[in-house]
């Protein structure tokens, strides 16, 4: 026997007869879903990094006080072939005529911006993309122009230098939302010439670099080693948490959908393989009789699978790439800058996973065929022998678990989904066994045809369990795709309601607070959070000065080196939830601190630990008495640390506010004029961007969910096709014995109704529980509740669907003359 040639011929012959079509289709679909979604997710991920780089203004930033960063940081970057951009930031008052305005000046060299685009509005009101300001020119925020009462084309003075206002800043990369004054952008040469950067200036210095990712990586490693104290690295990962969260959630959705599609296809592959192996039994027995050895059979079957799998996986990967290209056309608009290159990794892994799924699910039943007795050509009953447990049957579970773990990209998603599906499998097993037991005990009291149908379930116990299990798992996946996914998306959209805060106000002084609040109320501002803000340094944890090295987290080091902000309140602020300890309330005898959960973990704190802050010339040591989970995506003012108000009020502070007003409200300009020291930050642009991302990602996800649904329906067909074979002979026999079509239908309907209802109900419960767990742990939507009514309706609909499908399959069989079936089966 020439195994390859034999396997190839065998494959060709079986393909011609459609035997392998379901198997191949399931595989193509699984690989296509994985490749499409994996590639799409990877490209979106790359786009996030690119987009974050634009917000930062480069691929990596090094910040230090002026003069604190050695010149070799620039030299090293140039040696590494990276573009560099130097920025100096300082606060200064600018003048124009009699008017003056406190501003944050950003002095930039001509390379600005390295990433993203600077856009300014000219005197005619049109926005244009601009280069860094030339010497003698500045760009200024609208707030600066309003404060000075000047327009583009007028002049202003900084440090005694007279400069032309060449444009109003529309968007400038690298800015911070939380700066205390509006921005003026000027050239570094002017700032130097004006003597603004001399010794004693409190300017901060930032070096931005950009270039190829590996070069940036190498430079980051070098910089980390040579970083002087008080200097810090800013990577793109640190930029813009809000956008990141939106993308991450979107990615989790995409991965969830892809995983479910792959699992459904895996089940389809498994069922098709089961059916295939049952049909192959006769052939294997004959081949053994004709002298094929066990090893030859195993080799031929394995080769046949491989010959099927490789082209199917290739087609699937190609199809997937095509699909993601179509989907990416949607996403392209929302991703600024260059289109990320097509990553090949996800397609390759989809290809490999496809092979693993096929071999994992199909090999065990096929390899079982090596045990087919050659005597089976004379006696059919030989295969009814009880077989001992075969370790091979663990293979699909291992493959399934591995698939979930690799594809989920997150341990939590994997754990929740894996746990949910395992729970469904176990619950199905338990309920099925109970039902079978009840049928065995009380089945005799049922009317004739129905009794026969249900007796079938008991008689084919193993097959019944496999079928109910496969059906329940497929329906769970379908429920997750069709009901839980969309309702989670809906809940996510509702996360940014129309009255989400779109303005931040900084630097409100304590004596302005009442006036400020009254004015905002007068304007009809909604969702106002007005909280005190004190800035200082974290000087001790449990009485000891914290050291960055103790926490193994770069962020911790940044907080220790840099400025920390603290607030206080008598009530738990909205979008905060106490997860440990108790909220300190209004009248605490000793200083109490509530800490954000991520901080709590980062600084390895425990309840009862103390934290010492230096605010101005005061020090306060507070006991950590509660831990909060903070919804950082709420666009409200939120703090990592919250003191009790009794001890906070004594600290030097200003107020910070967030609120919602329709964009461009006229009253805001008046507020700015009345309270000139207050700075107003308009975050409508960021909000719009986040909303846009949510909309687009959710439409992409809806599309992927639909794609996965097709995979699910394929599974259902495979599951029912597998049962149709089993029924051919029985129906023929019943008809030979004189059963009429009504009796046949009753038998079939009874059997399928039991199958469908059991699977549907367990699946609905499993999907609801999985949905709640996903919402809590993966998507961070703690108040999500699944639509139980819809799930119930789907359970009933799927029961009806299963009954109809069963009836349709049987009808086809019932039309064949019984004698043909009986002869064929002999």
């Amino acid at each position: 026997m020439k195994p390859v040639a034999f396997a190839a011929r065998s494959l060709r012959r079986e393909f011609r007869h459609g035997e392998l079509a379901t198997l191949a289709a399931a595989l193509v679909l699984a690989v296509a879903a994985l490749a499409a979604v994996g590639t799409l997710a990877a490209r979106v991920e790359r786009a996030i990094v690119a987009s974050a780089a634009e917000l930062l203004g480069g691929d990596l930033g090094v910040s230090a006080r002026r003069g604190a960063l050695p010149e070799d940081f620039v030299d090293e970057a140039r040696r590494a072939g990276l573009a560099t951009n130097r920025i100096v930031e300082f606060s200064s008052v600018v003048f124009s005529g009699e008017a003056s305005q406190f501003t944050e000046i950003r002095a930039v060299d001509p390379a600005f911006p390295l990433r993203g685009a600077l856009s300014v509005r000219s005197a005619d009101g049109g926005a244009r993309e601009a280069a860094a300001p030339a010497p003698g020119e500045v760009y200024a925020d609208r707030a600066v122009l309003a404060g000075l009462g000047r327009n583009v084309g007028d002049r202003l003075q900084i440090g005694g230098r007279d400069l032309a206002i060449a444009g109003e800043i529309v968007n400038a990369p690298g800015g911070s939302v939380f700066q205390f004054a509006p921005t003026v952008l000027m050239s570094l040469a002017d700032a130097d010439a004006a003597g603004l950067l001399g010794p004693g200036s409190r300017a901060s210095y930032r070096l931005l670099v950009a270039g190829e990712a590996p070069a940036v990586e190498r430079y980051a490693a070098w910089a980390r080693e040579h970083l002087p104290p008080a200097a810090r690295l800013t990577s793109v990962e640190d930029a813009q948490q809000n956008l990141r969260t939106a993308f991450e959630r979107g990615e989790s959705f995409l991965r969830l959908a892809a995983l479910l599609a792959a699992l459904l296809a895996g089940i389809a592959v498994a069922l098709a393989a089961q059916r295939f192996s049952r049909r192959k039994t006769e052939e294997v027995a004959l081949l053994r009789c004709l002298g094929a050895s066990r090893s030859e059979i195993v080799l031929a079957l394995t080769l046949e699978l491989a010959l099927l799998a490789v082209p199917a996986c290739l087609i699937g990967a190609a199809l997937g790439l095509g699909l993601q290209e179509a989907a990416f056309a949607f996403a392209r608009e929302l991703l600024p800058g260059a289109v990320p290159a097509l990553p090949w990794g996800p397609s390759l892994s989809a290809f490999l996973i496809g092979l693993a799924v096929l071999f994992g699910f199909a090999l065990p039943p096929l390899l079982r065929l090596r045990d087919v007795e050659p005597m089976r050509v004379f006696r059919r009953d030989l295969d009814t022998r009880i077989r001992r447990f075969d370790a091979l049957y663990l293979l699909p579970f291992a493959v399934g678990a591995l698939l979930i773990l690799i594809e989920s990209g997150s341990g939590r998603l994997a754990a929740v989904l894996g746990g949910g599906l395992l729970g469904v499998a176990l619950a199905t097993l338990a309920v099925s066994l109970l039902l079978l037991k009840a049928l065995r005990a009380g089945g005799r009291r049922l009317p004739g045809a129905l009794r026969f149908g249900l007796a079938n379930l008991v008689r084919r116990r193993a097959l019944t369990l496999i079928q109910v299990g496969a059906l329940a798992l497929s329906l769970t996946a379908l429920d997750l795709l069709a009901v839980i996914g969309p309702s989670l998306l809906e809940r996510w959209r509702a996360d940014l309601p129309a009255d989400t805060p779109n303005y931040f106000v900084l630097n409100v002084q304590p004596d302005q607070r009442q006036d400020f609040k009254a004015r905002l109320d007068g304007l009809g501002a909604r969702n106002l959070s007005l909280l005190p803000l004190a800035a200082g340094k974290l000087v001790a944890i449990n009485g000891k000065a914290p050291r960055a090295a103790d926490y193994g987290d770069e962020r911790a080091g940044n907080w220790i080196e840099g400025e920390v902000r603290v607030s206080w309140s008598a009530e738990v602020p909205p979008s905060n939830r106490i997860v440990q300890g108790a909220w300190h309330g209004a009248d605490s005898a000793s200083p109490q601190m509530s800490v954000d959960q991520s901080w709590f973990e980062m600084f390895k704190l425990a309840l009862g630990d103390t934290m010492t802050l230096r605010i101005g010339d005061q020090e306060v040591t507070a006991t950590v008495s509660s831990v909060r989970e903070v919804d950082w995506d709420s666009f409200r003012v939120n703090f990592f640390m919250m003191l009790d108000p009794a001890h906070g009020d004594a600290l030097p502070h200003s107020f910070i506010a967030s609120f919602h007003l329709p964009p461009g409200s006229a009253g805001l300009a008046e507020l700015s004029r009345a309270l000139p020291n207050v700075s107003l930050v308009d975050i409508n642009a960021i909000l719009d961007r986040v909303r846009d991302i949510i909309e687009r990602v959710s439409s992409a996800v809806t599309w992927v969910l639909g794609f996965s649904l097709i995979a699910g329906l394929l599974v259902l067909l495979a599951a029912l096709a597998a049962t149709a074979d089993e029924r051919r002979f029985e129906i023929a026999l019943l008809r030979t014995l004189g059963a009429n079509s009504g009796q046949l239908n009753a038998a079939v309907l009874g059997e399928f109704a039991a199958l469908g209802l059991l699977a549907g109900v367990v699946a609905a419960g499993g999907a609801a529980a999985t949905g709640i767990a996903l919402a809590r742990t993966v998507f961070r939507l703690p108040d999500y509740w699944p639509p139980l009514g819809t799930l119930g309706a789907i359970a009933i609909a799927s029961t009806v669907l299963v009954m109809l499908a069963g009836l349709a399959g049987t009808r086809r069989i019932a039309r064949t003359p019984p004698v043909a079936v009986l002869r064929g089966a002999s």
Binding site: M1, E283, L286, L290, G291, E373, V377
Partner: protein, 229 residues
Amino acid sequence: MTLDSETVLSARKLSKAVDGPDGRLTILEEVSLSVARGASLAIVGASGSGKTTLLGLLAGLDRPTGGEVTLDGQRLDTLDEEARARLRRRLVGFVFQSFHLLPALSAEENVMLPLELEGRDDARERAQKALGDVGLGQRLHHYPHQLSGGEQQRVALARAFVHGPALLFADEPTGNLDQRTGATITDLLFAMNREHATTLVLVTHDPKLAARCARTVHMRDGRLIEDAA
């Protein structure tokens, strides 16, 4: 019973017992026989007399629980299944009551199977010739379901002889056919047997078919009760 060079198949005190729900069941009890090269032997008996079991043991499809089988000088009962498979491939052809053609394969492909198992390159040509020999040269690409019962059994005959086996085992080869077609198949079977000088072992309960064999043995309750040479 002696083994001489002309004996191609022999059994000595061959027994087969299986564990059933009501205890151990003996299907075959100490059967001894030998078949000379080129001879034809009919095993007859009622249903359940153990004749198919005996055929399976003689052909090396199953292992006895006691006794010996020797096929072409090789002890079958001591060989493992893999070695028996190799022996079958080389020496044995089969014809079954229910034909056992693979439904997904055309007539030609079905006949090619034993040759493909041997890894022969001329499988197609030889299969075509074999089908021509049984009068189906025009039906090469028909599938089993497109052929009548008699035609299917002719394909099976072509498959049984195509690799030139030393022994042919036939299990009720006409059992699923009407009288006339059965007679045609019988004629063809014996003609091919003569032509290929094959040793034929045939299981049947049709006395007419048994009468065509040079020798008939009878089975009853798992024992060989008569050896009418």
